[in-house]
């Protein structure tokens, strides 16, 4: 598609979506629902997208995407409400926001802080959107040259990197979670020879494990158990007056916004790494580059702006590998992948051939949802905050019923329910033991890709692994995987630290010599 044609189609889509009152209703109600999900501690963006997937199953794809992306954008932003007002981040993505947001609320500046996070989040989403529209076609074209070896290594890389970066304890636990996910993906008849693997004679398992119930179980049930078991106590929300867009202060912090947006997009594009890490990295970068790092943690606007811009920019970043390679960049994006597959859209390099306008439609929806989020945030924040009064003991059982009916309604299969619950309980136990859930989910999603492609690749090469070393992209991916694994081994870490110390010693001695001269 020519660039002008693309622009014309993009604005045409924006206009057609925005001119239909029903679309606007879906857009604003999903965004509001997302903000509520994000604001309530215990409910997450992933769970919001998961539950809405079941409700949008019967809708046309574009309308379903409008609802799902809006709830995703709204939920990532909504986490900042409880972070600022009660010092409990509504989502993990807003954890860094609480550090400075709550002190601001204690100073009586909650309204101003929310106004700023609203505008920063909208800008972050817009910048993420710009990256989706500009980078996705390039990556898609590049990915068309990938062969089975590259796809296998890409899937494997996704599992390894997500296991490495999301593990709260030992890295090996992240990898174990990834391999358990890969095992779950192996259940069912294998895609090449239809041999039944790990089905134990259950005909319901022949088609493999359904992704959406597994995702609902893995993200919904542990959340319910965690909140009710540990008695999450909600504090009294700080009061606030007017909420203004705070464009002047935003303008002053423009460099923080740009840097955080870039961090957000970059982190979002890494498979399985969510908005929470983007928020923390951006917070760290803002603190390191600030002239007054001592003000951080005591109510600094730059901190709040940076974290909120980064976590919303992460959405665009997460969409890039999802649309171009079929690899979700974050847990909610994994859920979106499940929703897309349900609607018969297979994300990956062939997407631009099978659905040439799909990426532009997603971009248009991101633009509209950031706009809807901004308006809803500025106008309805005071009303939304009231949901923080609902005790978790009331809404968590309701979420439980939604998880159950949601898992059942996809395929009208009771077996999905029988599967969802054990997955949820196992996911909870794993979380308690310090195993991350994101790699498990990424493993379930990327498993079929890894399985099919490694066997196809070896079939073509007649069992030889040599093409891994002769094809440049394969070789680069292989080196990155090996480096990622080896960089976690203690002797390597010790060697790296020793080399770093030696380099710093040499560098400072050189600097001293220069000063003397």
């Amino acid at each position: 598609m020519h660039i002008l044609e693309r622009l014309e189609y993009f604005f045409g889509t924006v206009f057609s979506l925005a001119s239909d009152p029903f679309n606007l209703l879906i857009l604003f109600s999903s965004t509001l629902l997302g903000i509520i999900f994000g604001a309530m501690p215990g409910l997450t963006a992933t769970l919001g997208v998961a539950l809405l997937t079941t409700l949008t199953y019967g809708m046309p794809t574009d309308l379903a995407m409008l609802a799902l992306l809006s709830i995703y954008v709204g939920a990532v932003y909504g986490g900042s409400y409880s972070a600022i007002l009660i010092n409990i981040p509504g989502t993990a993505a807003a954890a860094a926001t609480a550090l400075d947001g709550y002190p601001l609320a204690c100073k009586g500046e909650a309204g101003r802080a929310i106004g700023m996070t609203t505008t920063a989040s909208a800008i972050g989403t817009l910048i993420g959107m710009l990256f989706v529209v500009s980078l996705s076609p390039l990556i898609s074209t590049f990915a068309l040259q990938f062969t089975s070896f590259e796809f296998f290594l890409l899937a494997f890389f996704g599992i390894i990197i997500s296991g490495t970066l999301t593990s709260p304890d030992l890295v090996s636990k992240g990898w174990i979670a990834g391999f358990i996910g890969l095992f779950l993906a192996c259940v069912g008849r294998d895609p090449l020879q239809f041999y039944p693997r790990f089905t134990f004679g259950f005909s319901q398992l022949d088609g493999g494990i359904e992704i959406v119930p597994v995702l609902i179980g893995a993200f919904g049930i542990p959340q319910i158990i965690q909140v009710l078991k540990d008695k999450v106590l909600m504090g009294e929300a700080k009061k606030f007056q007017r909420i203004l867009p705070e464009l002047k202060t935003i303008g002053k912090n423009f460099k923080h916004i740009i840097r955080s947006a870039l961090i957000g997009v970059g982190i979002g594009a890494i498979p399985g790494i969510g908005e929470d890490i983007a928020g923390w990295v951006s917070y760290g970068a803002a603190k390191n580059s600030s002239k007054h790092p001592e003000r951080f943690g005591k109510g600094e606007y730059a901190a709040v702006i940076s974290t909120e811009t980064a976590n919303n920019a992460c959405i665009g970043g997460a969409m890039i590998p999802l649309l171009t390679l079929g690899i979700p960049g974050s847990p909610p994006a994994a859920m979106l992948l499940g929703a897309l597959l349900l609607h018969g859209v297979n994300p990956g390099p062939m997407l631009s051939f099978e659905h040439p306008t799909f990426i532009l439609e997603v971009t248009a929806i991101l633009l509209l949802s950031s706009f809807a989020m901004w308006i809803t945030g500025l106008l309805l924040a005071k009303q939304v905050v009231k949901v923080l009064r609902i005790p978790p003991e009331i809404f968590m059982p309701v979420i439980g019923v939604l998880c159950i009916i949601g898992s059942y309604s996809l395929g009208l299969n009771l077996f999905n329910l029988y599967l969802m619950l054990p997955v949820g309980i196992i996911a909870y136990v794993l979380t308690e033991m310090g195993y991350p859930i994101a790699p498990l989910v990424i493993g379930v999603i990327l498993g079929p890709m890894a399985d099919e492609n490694i066997r196809r690749a070896l079939m073509v090469s007649k069992g030889s692994f040599l093409p891994v070393f002769t094809r440049p992209v394969s070789l680069i991916l292989f080196i990155i995987i090996i480096f990622t694994v080896f960089s976690q081994i203690p002797p390597y870490k010790r060697f790296k630290n020793r080399m770093k110390e030696r380099f710093l010693a040499w560098y400072f001695s050189r600097q001293k010599k220069r000063k003397k001269h």
């Binding site: 409700l55 199953y57 019967g58 709260p168 304890d169 030992l170 090996s172 636990k173 990898w175 174990i176 391999f179 358990i180 890969l182 095992f183 192996c186 294998d190 090449l192 020879q193 239809f194 041999y195 693997r197 790990f198 049930i221 319910i224 158990i225 009710l228 078991k229 540990d230 008695k231 003991e393 009331i394 968590m396 059982p397 309701v398 439980g400 019923v401 939604l402 159950i404 009916i405 059942y408 309604s409 009208l412 009771l414 329910l417 029988y418 969802m420 619950l421 309980i425 308690e432 033991m433 310090g434 498993g447 890894a450 399985d451 490694i454 066997r455 070896l458 079939m459 007649k462 069992g463």
Partner: protein, 254 residues
């Protein structure tokens, strides 16, 4: 999540479990066609359906062993042994009945009863109503004594229902009374609610919480069931007494 010391001790056990799981995967994969003919196609190792499971199995064995190694290196075999011994003594002395653990068992048992016992056999509206009433009253009243009493009441009646279904009494009852099982569930819901009221009526804030909980528990199935059945056109998992009543009302008026 546990603290670091507890995690290392738990890692020793989970490491063994992960390795055994990996070993089981390898054993299962060895039974898959590696070089024989399957469906008229001669296999070679690199197209075998066992290829990825073997890789996963070996990786899990290796990572499990690594976990065991890290646990031993960071805390020492003796500390791990002592930790396990102490945990067993604590368990035998009934230390597992702490409030936190009881809350966990309660959540899991309510979910298990809802998914495996009630949904496939009892009208979805009624089973959801029972799930919500039980869940909300047990946790929202936030009193350990009330929680244990309500939970034991729920558990004993769930065991009754389990026996009722295992012995096939549902079929016998439904021969004489249409929707017999649903009527029995409705009676149980009423009994449970009455017991909850008796336990909570002594204090004003419990009474208020009980009222709020009951309103939510009743309102949610009233909204969800028609929304899924009539607007999203999703047939409910088991349609019985309440859904039949809903159908009669809906199709009479719309």
């Amino acid at each position: 999540m546990y603290d670091k010391d507890q995690l290392r001790k738990a890692d020793f056990i989970t490491g063994i479990l992960v390795s055994l799981f990996g070993f089981w995967i390898v054993r299962q994969a060895m039974g898959m066609p590696m070089k024989d003919s399957w469906g008229g196609v001669m296999n070679v190792w690199y197209v075998s359906p066992a290829l990825l499971p073997l890789f996963i199995g070996f990786m899990l064995i290796a990572l499990g062993l690594l976990l065991i190694g890290i646990a031993i290196m960071s805390t020492g075999m003796r500390t791990i042994g002592e930790g396990i011994r102490k945990a067993l003594i604590h368990w035998r002395k009934g230390g597992w009945i702490s409030e936190r653990i009881l809350r966990f068992y309660t959540i899991v048992i309510i979910f298990v009863c809802y998914v495996y016992l009630n949904i496939p056999r009892i009208d979805f509206f009624l089973s959801s109503l029972l799930f919500l009433i039980a869940f909300i009253t047990i946790f929202y009243l936030d009193n350990y004594s009330i929680m244990t009493r309500l939970f034991l009441f729920y558990l004993s009646s769930s065991l009754f229902f389990l026996l009722y279904f295992i012995l096939g009494l549902d079929k016998i009852l439904e021969k004489f009374i249409p929707y017999g099982t649903d009527i029995l569930t409705l009676l149980f819901i009423l009994l449970f609610s009455a017991y909850g009221w008796i336990l909570s009526r002594k204090q004003t804030h419990f009474r208020r919480k009980y009222r709020v909980g009951m309103i939510v528990a009743v309102a949610v199935p009233f909204i969800l069931c028609p929304a899924f059945k009539y607007f999203l056109l999703v047939p409910l998992p088991h349609e019985g007494l309440a859904v039949a009543a809903m159908d009669a009302i809906y199709y009479n008026f719309f």
